[in-house]
């Protein structure tokens, strides 16, 4: 049975789309079939991050409305044949999504893929609620700053009340991915510390993604960071996150890009 995972945050710009692409690629690298679904109708980005923007013919709205079949709209990744994308429409808005249509498409996706990863739009309105509605697992993406944490808290409240799972009285599986984390700035008090965020949100931590040039670089070339440079620190953090999602227990480490001992020494002094 497929697992439906929603990547959500409440606040915009914290790395939902990057995380969706990175997790999708990392799972697909493990051989399981994955479909990443862009729910950000009207502001689609996932196609860019996945490097598929020039191959979009049909989109989620077309499938929801029954104008196109699912296999016509789903785009297979050129680098990984187990990775697929269902893009959002750029010309419509979130009101074009119907509850029944989304439910039907999610059901169809469940039959075809091992994993379905929904990239939620920012906010707490209809689009975000539809993206999370059919999920089995939620990944809450948070930056180490107060506004992002409070918005994530709000989203966790919605995950516990507005999803099908919650309405059935089941417990929604929620995980936290802390993105753009910079240990040195957290130590200086410029950023919230991991413990602070965990204390406020009180959901299990899936990964800490360090602030890194690699993320922006990968986005700009249209490649998930886990595919673009699997050995860089953020890619390793995402790969660990996937292993934890699949049930492995790994020690939580702060992945850093390899630096020589002398570099570190030099950086310390400079700081």
């Amino acid at each position: 049975m497929a697992k439906v995972l929603v990547v959500t945050s409440g606040k915009g710009g914290v790395g939902k789309t990057t995380t969706t692409a990175a997790l999708g690629a990392a799972i697909a690298q493990g051989g399981q079939s994955v479909c990443v679904v862009d729910f950000d109708v009207g502001l689609r980005n996932l196609d860019l991050v996945m490097g598929a923007e020039r191959r979009v013919v049909y989109d989620l709205i077309n499938v929801v409305n029954g104008d196109a079949k699912l296999n016509q709209a789903v785009i297979r990744d050129k680098r990984l044949e187990t990775l697929h994308l269902l893009p959002a429409s750029q010309t419509r808005d979130k009101d074009a999504l119907t509850d029944e249509g989304v439910a039907r498409v999610m059901e169809e996706l469940r039959e075809k893929f091992d994993w379905v990863i929904c990239d939620s739009p920012a906010g707490i309105e209809r689009g975000a609620q539809l993206a999370m509605r059919h999920a089995d697992v939620a990944v809450v993406v948070t930056n180490p700053e107060v506004s992002s944490v409070r918005d994530s808290d709000r989203i966790i409240g919605l995950l516990d009340s507005k999803t099908v799972k919650a309405e059935r009285g089941e417990n929604m599986d929620k995980h936290l991915i802390l993105t753009r984390y910079d240990p040195s700035r957290a130590d200086r008090g410029d950023m919230l510390k991991v413990e602070d965020v965990l204390e406020i949100l009180s959901i299990p931590l899936l990964a800490i993604i360090p602030e890194s040039q690699e993320v922006l670089r990968a986005s700009n070339v249209g490649c998930p960071v886990t595919l673009n440079n699997p050995l860089c620190a953020p890619a390793r953090a995402y790969t660990d996150a996937v292993r934890r999602l699949k049930g492995e227990t790994l020690p939580m480490t702060m992945p850093t890009d390899r630096k020589s001992f002398l570099d570190k020494l030099f950086l310390r002094r400079a700081a």
Partner: protein, 293 residues
């Protein structure tokens, strides 16, 4: 002997008034009247105590009683009784459900009672009536007759006319059983945390939160507020004009505190209690705060 004397005087006596009433009550044709005195005369004959009984005598007084061929004068009298009338109403399913509820409360409600079914409100067709009768029989309702319609098909109890309303039957056990009054619960407990954007409003009592109250969340209680995690959001206690309400928390980081219309924002709260267990109460019109340790 005694066996002779006993039946003899009795018979004519009982026969006499019967005979007198029967013609007027039923209006029997005049011709039928003649045999009646005859029987009386025949019965009175052996009443004469003269003969010491021969062996055949006991048979004689039995004769008039055993004479079935003679048309007996039948008594038909009008009589009024109180019967229970049931008036089914549409929708029938609801009415039957009400009936079931009444039966559940007093299962012997219809036992031994004759029921008149008033069809004036329902006016069912034949099939519907058959079904209704079957439904009622299934509930052990014994239908004596119907009223309220013009005709009733054969095979069903008869149609009754001229029914007059009588006082309601005294059925004490039909009244709704008194539900034992639940003690008014004055407090609620929230097992988890109250997340940003969520509100808990409980104007009638205390609120206990086992987790934390996040920034952007709000608790409004008529009584006191107990928070076993961190208080990072808003807590307003004593909203029902209760100046004795208090707020307790394990970790004091509130955005806003209120007790009985007095409110303090985080800015006016100060930092000395930040992150510590604390209680907040009202003292002579001022909000007071103190650590719990």
């Amino acid at each position: 002997m005694k066996t002779q004397i006993f039946p003899d005087p009795d018979r004519p006596v009982s026969a006499q008034p019967e005979k007198a009433v029967s013609p007027e009550a039923v209006g029997l044709p005049a011709g039928t009247e003649s045999p009646a005195p005859e029987t009386a005369a025949a019965a009175s004959d052996p009443a004469k105590p003269a003969d010491p009984a021969p062996a055949t005598e006991p048979a004689e007084p039995a004769k008039p009683a055993a004479k079935p061929s003679t048309p007996r004068a039948l008594a038909f009298r009008g009589r009024a009784f109180k019967a229970m009338a049931l008036k089914p109403e549409a929708p029938l399913a609801d009415w039957l459900a009400d009936l079931d509820a009444a039966l559940k409360r007093s299962p012997t409600l219809f036992d031994g009672r004759a029921i008149i079914l008033d069809l004036g409100a329902l006016r069912p067709d034949h099939e519907a009536l058959q079904a209704l009768v079957a439904d009622l029989i299934g509930r052990r309702v014994r239908i004596l007759g119907f009223e309220g319609v013009e005709s009733i098909a054969a095979g069903l109890p008869p149609l009754l006319i001229g029914g007059r309303p009588a006082s309601n039957l005294d059925l004490p056990d039909l009244a709704l059983p008194k539900v034992p009054e639940e003690p008014v619960s004055t407090s609620i407990t929230i097992e988890g945390s109250v997340r940003s954007g969520q509100t808990v409003v409980h104007p009638t009592g205390d609120v206990t939160v086992m987790g934390s109250v996040s920034s952007g969340a709000e608790i409004l209680a008529g009584g006191s507020i107990h928070i076993y995690g961190a208080l990072r959001g808003r807590a307003i206690a004593g909203a029902a004009r209760n100046p004795r309400a208090r707020i307790y928390c394990r970790k004091f980081q509130p955005e806003l505190l209120g007790i009985d219309r007095l409110v303090r924002t985080a800015e006016d709260i100060g930092t000395q209690l930040q992150g510590k267990p604390a209680q907040i109460w009202l003292d002579g019109g001022a909000i007071r705060m103190a650590g719990l340790d």
